[in-house]
Amino acid sequence: MSHNEDELIKELKELKTNAQLDPERKESMKIALQKHAKKKRSRSKAKHTFIWLSSTAAVLACGVILYTFINSDQITLPAGDNEQSEEIGNTGEDAKDPNDMEGLGVEDPDNNDTSTAEEEETPEQDDPSGEGVSQQEFKVDQLGKETRTISIEGTEEETSVYNYRMDPYGIEYQVDTYYGEYAIEENTVRHHDKNNYTSIRLYVEENATIEELANEFDARYNENFNNVSEIMEPNDGENPYSGLTQNAGSQEYYLYQIDDNVLVIEYEQSNPEASDGSARLQTVIESIR
């Protein structure tokens, strides 16, 4: 550094004064600053409180909206509108969890069954009068799939069957995969083939006896059947329940006394070519437990 620069630096240092703020002025400035700091702090606190409250309000509002949204998704149609609705099951490869309250899947989109609906109805909603309806939810769960040998017109054939359980009655049965679709219609489960040519309806008449129902069924199927069969004791190879059978080709019904209830099985065939349906119905009859 040159001599001139050193001299210049020295001169610069000499420019440093000892000037100070006036003590009185300093004191008043200090008070003003303290007031400002206090004001700022309370404003900041109020701001934080406001932000906190508005965030909380926003979260609550979102919660309420979400709750309302979820709740509205669970609202079912009025009972009157549900008369035509049914629940659709799909007997695909994946068996449902037996504890699954839904118990049902979505029907194959290729199947144009117009009498389908997506939501499962509670028994109370299905029948507001409560007549003949269990207080517990009627549901049918698919439990799994297995292979079974059946006899069709004297020829043995290996086929796959699905296991089902009907609750709240705890009735278990098997249905041939030929009846690939199933649906809940009020307190009835309806299994049918993909073309809907044949169907098996199962339901339970609570606190009833076969004798009480026999005449009613006789009257209902009067045109189809000439007489009502005797009540048969269980045979070997069939289910272990006393039952009554009527068979008239395209229409059949079976009544089985299971404790205080009667299990009703109705078979209907709308297309004469679908004669396999009746043979495969036997699987259902034999498997009832």
Binding site: K13, E14, T17, L33
Partner: protein, 167 residues
């Protein structure tokens, strides 16, 4: 920012800030600016990073305020500024006058420097802040402070020669 902290800072640095503003604005009427520096410090306390010292942070606020003030201010009050030196040294009236004139010319020369040079001359040369402190205030690197200060002195020498040494 609580009242206690701003009071501590004010007690510790208000006179330094005051003097810095005096040099920077070339007037001793800077009390309001000093207060404004501390008000801004309260308002911007959330942005204060603990890695720099409160002193350098306050100086950088003061510098920004001084730049704004210098833009507004068209006339420097040299007489008042020089009065701040008057009672410093007990010397003869002639010498005192000479010294005062010399300081006045040096001040004038500093004000004629470009912004960067003026900054570094005031902070390093007059306030005698360290290179690191100056770098923190100006947000420069240490080496930039050194180089700029060296260049600023050269420029100042030229200015002084024009204003004083040649007179």
């Amino acid at each position: 920012m609580d009242e206690e902290l701003i009071t501590d800072w004010f007690d510790a640095y208000s006179d330094d800030i005051y003097r810095f503003l005096v040099y920077y604005t070339s007037t001793s009427d800077v009390e309001d600016l000093v207060q404004e520096v501390f008000i801004k410090a309260i308002d911007r306390y959330d942005s204060f990073k603990g890695d720099s010292s409160p002193k350098t942070w306050l100086f950088s606020i003061a510098r920004n305020l001084a730049i704004d003030e210098a833009r507004k201010q068209t006339r420097q009050d040299w007489r008042k500024l020089i009065k701040t030196y008057e009672h410093k040294i007990d010397i003869s009236p002639e010498d005192k006058h000479l010294l005062t004139e010399k300081k006045l010319e040096l001040h004038k020369a500093i004000t004629k420097l470009k912004q960067d040079y003026r900054d570094v001359v005031i902070l390093r040369g007059i306030e005698e802040l360290s290179v690191t402190e100056t770098a923190n205030i100006l947000k420069w690197s240490d080496s930039k402070v050194r180089v700029t200060f060296h260049r600023a002195l050269k420029a100042l020498k030229l200015q002084v020669k024009e204003v004083y040494y040649e007179s």
